[in-house]
């Protein structure tokens, strides 16, 4: 069923595709478009000041001396700045290794108060899978989180786990990935499907995600591309906002 659905989606949203010339990873990622509008982002862009918070676990950062500069939140900030000239863009990252969705959910009020974001990127799932959290608990945490964010006039984009071919058979992520997809559809929130995007990269040979390496060059490229794609989704979501604005109220 998934390929049929994927084909259907592609047919529906190809007009919204945001492929760029000369950037292999962007084209190979396939169609990455928002399903729902981002009204608060649209408002923030109109006011020329966009604050974004990224909440996540270890895969929202990269280790090493230049780690922060090359991780996707920073790349997102750079990409948003170039896509939105004249708008002051600030991305604040709240990433903690091993943090699960319910812990992140508990921190949301503090993050909202501190960063006052129009948009919160919520990267989660992997830590819950590793720690074997009850998928139902995970689902409830996401649902409650959406409540808090909506009440505070913050848009949310979920980001699911990385595609990690080496560990795929050892780490059962399906239940968590499904929960994220279902909550996103139910609550009309966008899901940035990092898993599928990285899988396409691996299949098309843009990135070799199997190979063992100590250098950060692959990681750096992956995060750069993720940041760009995410920026495209944010901007496209803002443009989509008026159409679905009433649905999110």
């Amino acid at each position: 069923m998934k390929p049929i659905v994927a084909a259907l989606l592609c047919a529906l949203c190809c007009s919204a595709a945001v492929a760029k010339e000369g950037n292999e990873c962007i084209t190979a990622a396939g169609t990455v478009a928002p399903d729902f509008g981002l009204p608060h982002v649209a408002r923030a862009i109109a006011k020329k000041k966009l604050d974004v918070a990224v909440v996540g676990s270890a895969s929202s950062e990269l280790n090493g001396p230049t780690g922060t500069n090359i991780a996707y939140p920073t790349r997102l900030e750079a990409a948003l700045r170039s896509l939105l000239p004249g708008v002051t863009v600030k991305v604040s990252t709240y990433a903690r290794p091993r943090e699960i969705a319910s812990e992140m959910e508990g921190k949301l009020p503090r993050i909202i108060a501190e960063a006052k974001p129009a948009l919160l990127i919520w990267q989660t799932g992997t830590a819950d899978a590793i720690r074997g959290v009850d998928p139902e608990e995970f689902r409830v945490a996401l649902d409650d989180g959406v409540d808090k964010l909506r009440a505070a006039d913050v848009d949310v984009v979920f980001m699911n786990m990385q595609y990690s071919p080496r560990t795929e058979a050892m780490l059962a992520v399906t239940a968590y990935a499904d929960a994220m997809r279902i909550i996103a559809l139910k609550r009309e929130a966008n899901l940035f499907d990092r898993f599928t995007i990285m899988k396409r990269w691996n299949e098309s040979g843009v990135f070799d995600l199997y190979g063992a390496t100590r250098t950060t060059s692959v990681a750096e490229h992956v995060h750069d591309c993720l940041g760009q794609l995410l920026a495209d989704v944010v901007v496209a979501g803002a443009k989509l906002a008026p159409a679905v604005d009433k649905g999110t109220q």
Binding site: M1, V5, A169, E203, L209, T213, R214, A219
Partner: protein
């Protein structure tokens, strides 16, 4: 599903358990194009329900006769011996899993996957994790079914005793335990945290229901099972379930589902065997029994023989399937992960499962333990390959 006559094995049980074993194998290979055929993509329930129900059915069929013929103690001892065999099989699989994961932990490194490497943390403290694994508290990915099966078998002797004396009381007790477990959130704790993925207090309901069906329940229900009204409801429910599953994939469709229905329906819980999963499974079962009667000649055809063979040696084939799904993933990582490779490994895996089942049958025949070659005391002959 009418009660089979003593000594006569209902081949449909073996057939569908064999198919369930294939589906479980396919579902356990990550990123496999072939697992789009598995039933979990089209409704609420999946192969686990089939496996647990049929296991309950055959357990009652085999050990029920043993209990009648040889007494409660002997039959109970046989069931516990079986539980022990399943336990040993589980620990064997755990050893294979640990070997694979240790290899990957040692040979793979990539700064991109710092977070995913967290699953290797348990290798840092083998003193704790190995003990927890032996206590069935630490269960790595996709290794949840056998521990459930062990607990179900271990608790089965008193339940079988009751089923033989007062079937309605036994069924009622099982249903009550299901309801209480859901209400009071009873489950067995897991390591490092959380609970068992398959809550045995909930899943026992399906196992006991299968057992009850085998001991005459199916016969009592046959009017309901074969009624056209039931069939209509079953079809409608399957269509409904398929539509709901579609709303999990296609944006916008969800708006068509009334909010009241959603509030009542969700979560469709796999851990606690949500009621919608049971209804979905029963709908499938009712239609299957209608379409495949017990005397259907196709059951003896050579085309279904492979699935039936696998179903007749379910423990061995289940374990092999878990191992093969690790191996298939390993092969994809090391060699090639293209669609061709996914299809090839899926089919090769199923062929290996069939070949192994045929080999086990052959061993049993030469050792004179097959039901065909040695009539023997009924019950005893089926124990090895039966459950």
């Amino acid at each position: 599903m009418s009660l089979p006559k003593p000594g006569e094995r209902d081949l449909r049980l073996d057939l569908f358990r064999g198919l369930a074993l294939w589906l479980i194998f396919l579902d356990h290979i990550p990123s496999n194009i072939v697992n789009w055929v598995t039933i979990r993509n089209y409704g609420f329930s999946d192969a686990t329900e089939i496996f647990v129900f049929i296991s309950g059915y055959t357990a009652a069929f085999v050990y029920g006769r043993a209990m009648r013929d040889h007494g409660t103690v002997v039959a109970g001892a046989r069931i516990l011996k079986r539980a022990w065999q399943v336990y040993v099989a589980h620990i064997f699989l755990f050893a294979i899993y640990t070997a694979e994961i240790s290899y990957v932990a040692h040979s793979f490194e990539n700064p991109l996957y710092g977070e995913e490497m967290g699953i290797f943390d348990f290798l840092q403290q083998p003193d704790v994790t190995l003990v927890q694994a032996m206590l069935l508290k630490f269960k790595p990915a996709n290794m949840d079914v056998l521990p459930l099966y062990i607990i179900l078998l271990a608790g089965f002797p008193p339940m079988l005793w009751l089923l033989l004396r007062a079937p309605p009381v036994a069924l009622g007790a099982s249903a009550l335990l299901y309801v209480l477990a859901l209400h009071f959130e009873w489950n067995i704790s897991a390591y490092p945290n959380g609970n068992w993925f398959f809550n045995p207090f909930a899943w026992q309901a399906l196992f006991v229901f299968g057992a009850w069906c085998a001991l005459g329940g199916a016969k009592q229900l046959s009017v309901v099972i074969l009624s056209p009204i039931t069939a209509v409801f079953a079809v409608l429910f399957l269509v409904f379930a398929f539509f709901i599953v579609l709303t999990w994939y296609i944006p916008g469709l969800d708006a068509l589902v009334p909010r009241r229905l959603e509030e009542w329906m969700y979560p469709i819980d796999k851990t606690n065997l949500g009621i919608l999963r049971i209804v979905h499974f029963l709908s499938l079962a009712v239609l299957t029994v209608r379409m495949v009667p017990g005397n259907w000649p196709g059951l003896r055809s050579m085309w279904l023989r492979p699935a039936i063979l696998c179903g007749q040696h379910s423990l061995e084939i289940f374990c092999l399937g878990v191992f093969l799904s690790f191996a298939a993933h390993f092969a994809m990582v090391e060699i090639n992960q293209g669609v061709g490779m996914q299809i090839a490994t899926s089919f090769l895996g199923i062929i290996l499962m069939i070949a192994t089942a045929a080999l086990i049958s052959w061993y049993k025949r030469i050792e004179g333990r097959s039901p065909r070659s040695r009539p023997g005391p009924p019950g005893a002959t089926l124990v090895g390959g039966g459950v």
